[in-house]
């Protein structure tokens, strides 16, 4: 039961972070937050007994995508106009 409440907390956290990603003007913060969403999603997948999907989400969503976006931000602008 306590695990279920933890999962609900994680899902709400994902929603809040998603709104933050859309609203913030600092693109670097948005990228980090979206990476964090992926990390939380991978925890949720692990709870749902899908370790394969959790691994993909952690490696691609939290790791590689975040880094690729950071490279792109470094080469363009950090703040949204």
């Amino acid at each position: 039961m306590i695990l279920e409440y933890f999962m609900i907390f994680l899902l709400v956290l994902m929603l809040i972070l998603a709104v933050y990603v859309v609203e913030t003007k600092d693109l670097l913060a948005a990228v980090i937050a979206s990476g964090f969403i992926s990390l939380v999603a991978s925890i949720v997948y692990l709870y749902l007994q899908a370790p394969d999907v959790a691994m993909t989400e952690a490696a691609i969503g939290a790791g590689l995508t975040t880094l690729i976006f950071i490279i792109a931000i470094r080469k363009t602008e950090r703040y949204e106009k």
């Binding site: 394969d52 691994m55 490696a59 691609i60 590689l64 880094l67």
Partner: protein, 231 residues
């Protein structure tokens, strides 16, 4: 006005999502084919990881399409970066001692771990895509910490092409000797839960691991190269 339209659109989308979720209850069994995978999957393919058995064998053709999509995306990105003139100069800062030392230690370990994931794809969670991504993140770490680290682009694309060809050739071997494309009866299946088991599944996943690893490493190197020309 635009915001109102957006909100209305989202509400309609949310309504239909809710409808779909209420029609398909979460976790309920609806299709007979999933029951077949769960009951007969290990018997037919001898892969202890049922997900791998489905991804590489039952739905192997979809995986081939997935790999092709990834290839197309990497090619499109390389094309865009080659023609893009919109570059901004910036100073590269030398990586700190901590990052340098840590990446020197982690680089071989990450490569090894990635190889472990895709070689054991039919036994433990994970597989070609996950292992390849771990290898690409190892390359990424070295690119971040070392100026002198230049992956050989020609070698990467050669590995990528060869791995893709091997995947298709295994599929055709199944077509010729097994009866259908990607059929899993051309090699002895062996005993489940052993490293040498599950027929062609580990071979295909090793090929996918090499392909994804080389592809994503090349993609990241491409993104880095845009600035290297400036320096």
């Amino acid at each position: 006005m635009r915001k109102l339209i957006a909100i209305a659109f989202l509400l309609i989308l949310g309504f239909f999502m809710l409808k779909i979720v209420s029609v398909f209850p979460f976790g309920e069994e609806r299709w007979g084919v999933s029951r077949h995978y769960v009951d007969k999957g290990i018997e037919e393919n001898r892969a202890s990881n049922l997900v791998t058995s489905i991804v590489v064998n039952y739905r192997g053709f979809d995986t081939l399409g997935e790999v092709t999509v990834l290839f197309l995306a990497a090619t499109a990105l390389a094309f865009l970066l080659a023609t893009c003139k919109c570059r901004k100069k910036y100073e590269r800062i030398e990586a700190s001692l901590i990052l340098k030392t840590a990446s020197d230690i982690l680089y071989p370990l990450l490569i090894l771990f990635g190889a472990y994931i895709f070689i054991h794809g039919h036994l433990t969670p994970g597989g070609g895509f996950q292992g390849g991504t771990v290898i690409a993140s190892a390359v990424m770490l070295m690119l971040l910490s070392r100026f002198t680290f230049h992956p050989n682009h020609r070698a990467l694309s050669t590995i990528e092409g060869l791995a893709g060809i091997i995947f298709v050739l295994i599929g055709f071997a199944g077509f010729i000797w097994g009866g259908s494309f990607l059929a899993n009866n051309i090699l002895p299946l062996g005993h489940w839960n052993r490293l040498f088991s599950a027929g062609v599944i580990p071979l295909i996943y090793i090929a996918i691991g090499f392909k994804v690893g080389a592809e994503l490493s090349g993609l990241i190197t491409d993104m880095y190269k845009v600035t290297k020309e400036e320096e």
